[in-house]
């Protein structure tokens, strides 16, 4: 069977890149959360060390991860994400909703 070909929307290459960056960020977030929580938190509570009053595992896996990943999201969005038009091209041709 012969496949009909059509030109793929060029914006999708960009959106795929953006999606991939978010998936990588998510995986990094899960690993960070897991490694610090159970790497530092598995010992008995008597042996815990404390940072700013919090048990170290909690400080790294909950507080630092919040700050760190907020900053990373900001960096990734500024670097990877592009300001692309969302309207369909037909609208623009018609002089409709395009900018």
């Amino acid at each position: 069977m012969e496949k009909k070909t059509f030109k793929e929307d060029p914006r999708y290459r960009q959106t795929n890149k953006e999606t991939l960056s978010m998936v990588i960020l998510l995986i990094a977030n899960i690993i960070w959360w897991y490694v610090f929580a159970y790497g530092l938190g598995s010992r008995p509570p008597e042996e815990y060390t404390y940072i700013m009053g919090f048990p170290a595992w909690f400080f790294w896996s909950c507080i630092v991860s919040f700050v760190l990943f907020s900053i990373l999201v900001w960096i990734v969005v500024s670097v990877v994400f592009k300001d692309i038009p969302l309207d369909s091209f037909e609208d623009e041709k018609k002089g409709g909703k395009g900018k």
Binding site: K7, T19, M22, A37, G41, S61, F69, S70
Partner: protein
């Protein structure tokens, strides 16, 4: 609780003011609806004309999924389980960046291509106008969401009862009718704008109560020391007596983080923003806001253990936050803080109500029952508003004394929605081969297996049933898709072509 009447009056002033502002936003949005509705009523009433900027988008996204449980039940459990429960809550940090980052732009582009107003519009076009796909998805959304609305109404009325002493039924009527009025008259725009105000109140309330709690407990070190004397388990990631096992907590990454992509009330927000820039800003703001709320509220719940040492008789740990607010703040300020959990509930209910209404009106009534109404904007307006109002009334009536069927379904509402929509949305957007047979197979397998697994095998391999459910749903999707023909060429071209 026994409260003096002067205390109640001071408490009521900010609460009443808050409720009036919500009504005002409803009527303000109604003016926009009536000016726009001559041209494009459905697009305005159910999607606010895709006109929202970054801050509003971030707030509506976060406020919609932050519900009663993040303000009452969640901190209550943190109170009894300690820091491990905060660790669990932190699995929700990525919600904003994955919802908008993964669904966001693709969904916005596609929905403009096919001129979609609802999630099911996109699904219908993507799966070759297959009526079975539309009906199963719509019924799934309607049933699970109505039940979820009832659950939130009950929570809201109970909260009203606890904090103001108003009898349950009056709390329900007052609270329910305000949500109902602003949602009905103002549509999606009112829902989103009230969400923005409600989200702001939630963030403000959370930061203030966290700081006040740390100060009242004499600093973090002091509080942690007190917790250690109460029970050293409170400081571990495992909870008291290993309550929070590792496979169980890990499956929350699926239930409340990745699975969120399958909640239609969240996904619809990925269609509603103005331009790329607004979405980029919303990803950043939304991540920070959800982090502040999740970390702040649950950590406050944990530390409350050192301050509210005993829960008064007749109350449960769900009341920890209201008790704490009344302990820490003067009445008028407690009133502001208590508006926050109400805001959390209202911002969840309104989004669910408008989504059910859009499913009934746009996806079922106009598609299959009475397509002629499409040309009559006035009739569309009245039909949509009447259906929204009726739905709300039914939900309020059902909340007076919730039938046991509703309580039963409510257990499955959250996961049920994810099981219905998750693969259909993700694969529909990113996989050309995905077809209607696959969507139907994954929805049916998902819903049935979620309910069955939850009942007969509540912790498969130590995890939450949603994990196995989504795996089975994916397998069903793949088998059914490969066993049947690919979707129509036109569909693929419409979605992927220029």
């Amino acid at each position: 609780m026994n409260l003096s009447s002067s205390y109640l009056i001071q408490l009521w002033i900010p609460l009443g003011l808050y409720l009036l502002i919500m009504l005002y936003i409803g009527f303000y949005s109604n003016r926009v609806v009536s000016t726009v509705s001559k041209r494009n009523f459905l697009g305005e009433y159910f999607l606010g004309n895709r006109n929202f900027g970054g801050y509003v988008l971030a707030m509506t996204l976060v406020a919609t999924y932050v519900s009663a449980s993040s303000f009452l039940g969640g901190p209550g459990t943190a109170y009894s389980q300690g820091l491990g429960w905060v660790l669990l809550a932190m699995t929700q940090l990525p919600t904003a960046y994955i919802t908008l980052g993964i669904l966001g732009k693709r969904f916005a582009i596609v929905s403009r291509k096919v001129n979609a107003v609802t999630i099911i519009d996109v699904i219908r076009e993507r799966y070759d106008n297959n009526p079975l796909v539309v009906w199963i998805a719509s019924m799934g959304a309607i049933i699970f969401l109505i039940v979820a609305v009832v659950g939130q109404f009950v929570g809201g009325a109970k909260l009203f009862q606890t904090i103001t002493g108003l009898p349950y039924i009056w709390g329900l009527i007052l609270f329910g009718s305000i949500v109902l009025i602003y949602t009905t008259v103002g549509g999606f725009r009112a829902v989103v704008l009230t969400d923005a105000v409600q989200g702001t109140i939630m963030v403000f309330g959370t930061v203030v109560i966290l700081i006040a709690t740390i100060m009242a407990g004499g600093g973090i070190s002091n509080i942690m020391h007190t917790l250690k004397t109460i029970n050293p388990d409170l400081l571990t990631p495992y909870g008291v007596d290993n309550f929070i096992a590792v496979p169980w907590i890990s499956s929350y990454w699926v239930l409340v983080c990745i699975g969120i992509l399958g909640l239609p009330q969240n996904a619809i927000r990925a269609m509603a923003y103005k331009d790329s820039k607004s979405m980029h800003r919303a990803i950043i703001i939304g991540t920070v806001v959800s982090g502040v709320l999740m970390l702040g509220l649950h950590l406050t719940g944990v530390m409350a253990r050192a301050i509210v040492t005993e829960i008064p008789q007749g109350l449960t740990t769900d009341n920890v936050m209201p008790l704490l607010a009344m302990r820490l703040f003067p009445a008028w300020f407690a009133g502001i803080f208590l508006a926050a959990p109400l805001a959390a509930i209202m911002s969840t209910v309104d989004s669910q109500l408008i989504l059910i209404s859009s499913t009934i009106v746009k996806d079922l009534y106009l598609n299959y029952i009475n397509p002629k109404v499409n040309d009559d904007q006035r009739k569309l307006t009245s039909t949509s508003m009447i259906i929204t109002a009726l739905l709300g009334l039914i939900a309020i009536l059902a909340s007076i004394k919730p039938p046991s069927l509703i309580i039963w379904i409510n257990l499955y509402a959250f996961g049920g929605l994810e099981a219905t929509f998750f693969w259909m949305l993700i694969l529909g957007l990113y996989w050309k081969r995905a077809n209607a047979a696959g969507a139907i197979a994954s929805m049916i397998t998902g819903i049935v297996s979620f309910i069955v697994i939850s009942r007969v095998w509540p912790r498969p391999f130590g995890t939450h049933p949603i994990v196995l459910t989504l795996i089975l749903g994916l397998i069903a999707f793949l088998i059914a898709t490969y066993a049947t023909k690919p979707p129509k060429e036109e569909t693929i071209e419409k979605f992927w072509g220029v």
